[in-house]
Amino acid sequence: MLIVDVLTGGVRGGTAIMFAALGETLAERAGVVNLGTEGCMLVGALGGYAVAAETGNPWLGLLAGALAGALLGLVHAVAVVWRRADQFATGLTLMFLGLGLTSLFGAAYVGKAAPGFDPVPLPVLGDIPVIGEILFRHDPVTYLTFVAAPLLWFALNRTKAGLLVRTAGERADVLHVHGYSPGLIRTVAVTAGAALAGLGGAQLSTAYAHAWFEGMTAGRGFIAVALVIFAAWRPLWVVAGSYLFGAALAVAPALQARGQSLNQFALDALPFVITLVILAVLGRRTLRAAPEELRRVFAR
């Protein structure tokens, strides 16, 4: 069935975007936009693939991907939080830096074999008709997102660390009064968020595409940034948004493999148009949900 294939493709293709968007949610809840998510995903994709190739262990690769993303995120955090550089310009710079660094050091891994993650259908769950196929016959990294999103929701809303992050995003001066450093909290949040973006990149290279190629994120990092607003900074909505976006990407191949087609370029533009339309429809409602400190950035 077409709809099942599109939704399955949505989960397959939405996973990397979801990791990145969850990471961006964390950073933005602390009050910092990381437009360099694209760069963080790229270094994660290369780091993940390279370490998997060198060690023969894809799990180590995943870890390396997260670490590489975190390192680049730390650069963003230091520049933006401690050196007061502009968030958007620094983020875009990070994109160029990620593109350059991965191309400089990634050449050796193009076409090189590396162990990766193959689909592992879950027992019982994977046998459920329709739902099993859509959700439970994927690679283990995809299953990780099933846990990661609720976990992030819980951490943000039910733990003290989450409270600190949210306060850094809403009323940073309150933290000062209580002896916390909003700068430090933001640095940690941005770095951890970038680690998630790196994880997304590593999923792309070690589980989805099973290859490294320069520029392979192809704009998915930017999509993740847009998704966060679309999801009104809520982790669980990020899940829905990522799958929706993944599904939009999956429409074209699913149709074509059946010999049907719509205009190719209209289909390519579809995910971006959908995001734009949803942003327009949700409009001010999303803005009201924005962390206070971010509102200064986003709507003046």
Binding site: R12, S103, S205, A209, H210, F213, E214, Q256, R258
Partner: protein, 378 residues
């Protein structure tokens, strides 16, 4: 600071405007210019990274063979050169470094190549894969193999091997080279298995591994059991196909190592001899009027195709190999597109008894009968 930057900008502008066209050699008036002769360097530009495990890597390897064959020549290479005026800029830089022979190796480099050729009558500029319409300047030309011929042969292997009768083709954009390949693949498969269909899925990118993964997954889901592709990077589709237990027909490079079970055959490049011969012709001062001074195409009919068949995998039986050998012999005097060729609507596009020439084939803009999928209308 602001004054310094602004001042520096004005200085650059002034110098640039006053500088005469340095580096742009003007032909000695009246005297004859022999393009390429006495060159001390050869330039190669590639549209992608030179280690993409595909098209660009093959071209890069060809350039390295030129370096080996002509130890006195400096071989200058540039990767990731976009298909716009940046290509002209990079070629001009190479010429400034002494290159009087320049290879522009991507389809879309043609306009820039012709511009550079017009500016530098003393430089041989050859372009790989595109077609000069009208007459070629005395110092320019295009060259290519008949890529669709080995693809046709691989189609025979695919048509024989498929159990479901469904083949898959992952491609980037509907340019003529790709359309020829998809058509030839289906024609080859049909020649041994008349009911076989080829499902064409495009990715709108020469290399977006995630989109390739999605394309392969959907083809496999629909019961396709042999997949081939026209992409610059090929590993993702091959690994997905192998992991699903389906069969692979390669493109650009011998990738049997990553598909030890399902590898059938494929097509791969061997540019060294052709590149070297072009360089030899240019250095000798005989480029103008030679076969390379135009649209040079070489196929099984005319000589050594730089696009050769990849080694066979374990699934290709003896009968298939004999069929392919026989077809190869036929191609020495014929063409994969020898009539009758019908399009998807069943209309005869190449009549019975007609063998189209290379240029006609390179202008085919329709899918043949048996290809499932549609092309944009233009």
């Amino acid at each position: 600071m602001r004054k310094i930057i602004t001042g520096a900008a004005l200085a650059v502008l002034a110098t640039a405007c006053s500088a005469n066209t340095a580096g742009t050699a003007t032909p000695a008036s009246g005297g004859t210019v022999v393009p390429g002769k006495g060159s001390t360097a050869v330039g190669f530009i590639f549209v992608g990274p030179k280690d993409d495990y595909g098209y660009n890597q093959a071209a890069y390897q060809g350039s390295q063979e030129v370096a080996k064959a002509f130890p006195n020549l400096k071989v200058i290479t540039a990767e990731n050169v976009p298909e716009d005026d940046n290509a002209a800029r990079v070629m001009n830089s190479m010429i400034a470094k002494g290159a009087k022979i320049v290879f522009a190796t991507s389809y879309g480099h043609l306009d820039a190549a012709l511009k550079v050729a017009a500016e530098h009558p003393d430089v041989v500029v050859v372009q790989q894969g595109n077609l000069i319409t009208g007459s070629a300047p005395p110092n320019a030309g295009t060259f290519f193999g008949t890529v669709y011929e080995p693809v046709y042969l691989a189609g025979i292997a695919a048509g024989r091997a498929t159990k479901t009768g469904k083949l898959g083709y992952v491609y980037a954009f509907p340019i003529s080279q790709t359309i020829d390949n998809i058509d030839a693949f289906e024609l080859g498969a049909r020649s041994v298995n008349p009911s076989v269909k080829t499902y064409a899925v495009n990715t709108s990118s020469w290399c977006d591994p995630a989109k390739q993964a999605e394309a392969a997954a959907n083809l496999l889901k629909q019961g396709v059991d042999v997949i081939t592709q026209h992409q610059d990077c090929t590993a993702t589709v091959i690994k997905a196909t192998e992991a699903a237990g389906a069969m692979t027909v390669g493109y650009h490079a011998d990738a049997s190592a990553i598909a030890p079970k399902g590898w059938l055959t494929g097509s791969q490049w061997n540019w060294g001899p052709l590149y070297s011969d072009i360089v030899r012709t240019a250095l000798g001062g005989t480029f103008t009027g030679s076969k390379y001074n135009g649209n040079f195409r070489v196929g099984y009919k005319t000589g050594d195709n730089p696009f050769v068949q990849s080694p066979y995998g374990p699934l290709v039986d003896d009968k298939t190999r004999r069929l392919i050998e026989a077809a190869k012999d036929t191609l020495k005097s014929g063409s994969p597109f020898a009539g009758p060729v019908r399009d998807q609507e069943g209309k005869v596009r190449i009549p019975d008894g007609t063998t189209p020439d290379y240029e006609t084939i390179e202008k085919i803009d329709y899918f043949v009968e048996g290809v499932v999928g549609s092309l944009p209308k233009s």
